[in-house]
Symmetry: C2
Subunit: 110 residues, 2 copies
Amino acid sequence: MSSGETSYRERKVISIGTVSELTGLSVRQIRYYEERKLVLPHRTNKGTRKYSFTDVERLMEIANHREDGVQTAEILKEMRKKEQRELNKAGLKKQMLRGQINAQFQRGRP
Amino acid sequence: MSSGETSYRERKVISIGTVSELTGLSVRQIRYYEERKLVLPHRTNKGTRKYSFTDVERLMEIANHREDGVQTAEILKEMRKKEQRELNKAGLKKQMLRGQINAQFQRGRP
DNA sequence: CGTGTAAGGAATTCTGACACG
DNA sequence: CGTGTAAGGAATTCTGACACG
């Protein structure tokens, strides 16, 4: 709604080999987590996967959960819940901001 | 001095093909600018180049200068001057901060 | 000086599959 | 279920060199 330019954190520019080094996961594991919908890399014209730093962080979280023996289906559910909580939080902030702006108008001080 | 973790902006994780797409420069051009010391990518064990977003921005600046017919040697000088100015600025900030902290101590309110 | 291109080789990535468990 | 691996092919990257200007 404001910038237009995606931030560095979310730009999908990292290839799978680099992601493997960054996360310590094998290329096979990274592809498998995509199959299970845990990460959604961008695909270039020629079909190669590109990841963002956000994806890398997400993969590290997944790695931690897997180490604890959590199955991919569970991890997926957890992450979806978490995202929902974050959306709510963002929505709440927006509401409060709107409230403040309205209050300003009421007092006749735009 | 504080974090230890490099920020996303400076992490060298982007390969040359992607940089080419991001900047609109040819791979040949990007390699040539390295030869002329205008950009300094990281080299992996196997010798492939990895760039940061900062490098990408720098390359776009280079592209602009080249469009204006500026030679690489000139661009290099300009960029070095600019960096020097930025280091000075950072140094000045640090000095001022130190001054403020000292002032607090003088008043006996640490 | 700055950039394109063909050359030959090494390393990457992709998919679908079999293996183990 | 989650991961390794060999298979075959396509695309990437690297270097040194010749070309043009």
